[in-house]
Amino acid sequence: MTDRGPHDTAPPADIPYRLPWRSSNVRVGTHRGKLEGAGGFFRDVVPLLRSPDPRRIDLRISARDPFEGLYARRFEQKTSVVVYAIVDVSASMGFRGSADKMRLAAQLCGALAGSVRRAGDAFGLIGCDAVVQKDLTFLATRARGSEMEMLSRLRSFTPRGAGSQGFIDAAGLIAGRRKLVFLISDFYIPSEETEKIFAAFAHHDIVPIVLSDSLEIERLPRWGIMSLTDLEVGRRRLVVMRPSLWEAWQRRSGRRRAALRSIAARFGRAPFEIQDRIDWDRLGAHLVGGYA
């Protein structure tokens, strides 16, 4: 890893995101929607009686009809979506190794909020651990500048809770039309619970963002004694690291990632892993094209 600080990777002006589904939102926006309207995309042709807009009569189709019916073209109305960032703020996110996970999360949310607002979509942020944190609950809004308050609160938040029940409660808060939901967490969550969380958000388009730190696993020293304290549970454990244990940790971490991938695959997109710093280009590519 190159030794670059977080300031080196300033977020781009916009994070591109494309929805592979049609939003049923009624608000005009930039995404393909289910509604017809004055958009540019041709959608279908229906009898004029169903879509009584004589300006859009399609002469060719109408002339071809043996029953001499009149047909009108319909176009897709570009719609907006609601984007939510559900941020895990449990104590494990307080880990500061190569990077500060909460800062990464705030950075990501900041970039997302800016892009989403510029795209005309609504952005909301919910921080949750065992419960939904009231200080960090911002329902989706298009209000300009709203992200400033979100981000400052997120930056100054000290993660302390334990658990992940809050995710499921957060799913209740954002129920309704299909939304784009970024699940930002380190995903140190047991796989049954991870599955429950994904199931709770299954109605939405879930983009799991895994915040990891190379010091957690990959850059662990191979030899030495460490006294590790579980940031969530507070339990202390002495670890006598040696190559065999190191390998075991790597394998375990690989299994954990694979489990998360398989769960995520069942519910939508593949997880995107942010390690130590945010690679904006990769993130953009993932959001535009990476649809599992």
Binding site: G97, T158, D186, D213, I225, E232
Partner: protein
């Protein structure tokens, strides 16, 4: 075996030994989730060992500071032996050889020969208790009856110091007998008189000696280091010599001893070999059951305690040296650990809020 402490007040600090159970020597480093990583038996064992060695180090240090020791005690045993007072002649003639002249090259003085053999005698008889008295013109109280072997050997060694003056057996014997009187235990008693000559014993002293011996009977051995040409103990008097104590003090001392009605043997030794034989003979004769007190000395355990503490601390130091920070260098590890405290502090605040 019972433990004792010189300053038991230090033990009031003993609850402190629980500190290493609560605290680890390693700096706590935050880690997102330990549930997600492999458990490791070796690590757990080492963890327990390190905590225990912390406890052991503190406990051993406290014990050492409190002056831990095994208290001394005396044990009564039954063995073979006697209480023997060695009555040594310190007259100046003892410095001469058996030939009656100052020792030359390779020659041993009478005192040196006696010393050598008496040392053997003392060392051969482990259960005996010895007292040492010396006499010259006046008796010298050297060592009461004791089981301190080193002191006895030291006193015997001292007989090779240059001699003093004349021989006054009577007062010396009286002193040796009074040493026996001062020793209250019931044991077989003996006096080994080592001298190279005799003198007339005053009649009053003779009476006193008889009274003392009647009070406390002892076995009497006289090891007479006979100088060449000197009159023997057993020799009948020559025709031209009057048979008086003044003329033949040795012969008459022998007669006096025989008249004491206690077991008595006299040995006439004219050379070191004869001295050895005589001492072997005494060794054979003095074989009576004896109850003796064996003193088990106090054993200072604080050195061992310091050693244990040192070993435990060394182990802890090694463990501390083997400690690694998660990022392998300074400031970031500090931040990682500070996040642990920040988390705890924040948790405490949130608990307070909930309570309020």
């Amino acid at each position: 075996m019972n433990l004792g402490f010189n300053s038991p007040l230090v033990l009031l600090l003993l609850p402190l030994v629980l500190l290493p159970v609560i605290f680890a020597i390693q700096r706590a480093q935050g880690y997102p989730s330990l549930a997600a990583v492999e458990t490791d038996t070796l690590s757990r064992v080492i963890d327990v060992v390190l905590h225990l060695s912390g406890v052991v180090a503190l406990a051993a240090l406290l014990a050492a500071l409190a002056g831990i020791h095994l208290s001394g005690q005396t044990v009564e045993r039954v063995g073979e032996g006697s209480h023997i007072v060695l009555l040594l002649d310190r007259s100046s003639s003892m410095d001469d050889t058996f030939a009656g002249r100052p020792p030359g090259d390779g020659e041993a003085s009478k005192s040196a020969a006696a010393r050598h053999l008496l040392r053997d005698f003392v060392e051969k008889r482990p259960h005996d208790r010895f007292g040492v008295a010396a006499f010259s013109t006046l008796p010298m109280y050297v060592l009461p009856i004791t089981s301190q072997r080193d002191a006895v050997l030291g006193a015997i060694d001292a007989i090779t110091r240059p001699g003093l003056a004349y021989t006054n057996v009577g007062l010396g014997l009286s002193l040796a007998l009074s040493m026996h009187e001062a020793d209250p235990t019931a044991a077989s008693r003996a006096i080994v008189l080592v001298s190279d000559g005799a003198a007339v014993i005053d009649r009053r002293v003779q009476e006193k000696l008889r009274a003392q011996i009647a009070k406390r009977p002892v076995n009497l051995y006289w090891l007479y280091l006979r100088t060449e040409g000197a009159p023997g103990i057993f020799d009948p008097p020559g025709e031209d010599v009057p048979d008086t104590p003044q003329a033949l003090p040795e012969r008459h001392l022998n007669i006096f001893f025989q008249s004491l009605k206690v077991p008595y043997r006299a040995f006439e030794a004219e050379n070191p070999k004869a001295v050895a034989d005589a001492i072997a003979e005494i060794d054979k004769l003095e074989r009576n059951p004896i109850r003796y007190q064996e003193r088990i000395p106090e054993v200072d355990l604080s050195k061992i305690a310091y050693g244990i503490a040192g070993a435990a601390l060394l182990l802890l130091t090694l463990a501390k040296l083997a400690e690694v920070q998660l990022d392998g260098g300074g400031h970031r590890g500090e931040r990682a650990s500070s996040s642990v405290t920040a988390t705890r502090r924040a948790a405490a605040i949130s608990r307070e809020k909930e309570a309020a």
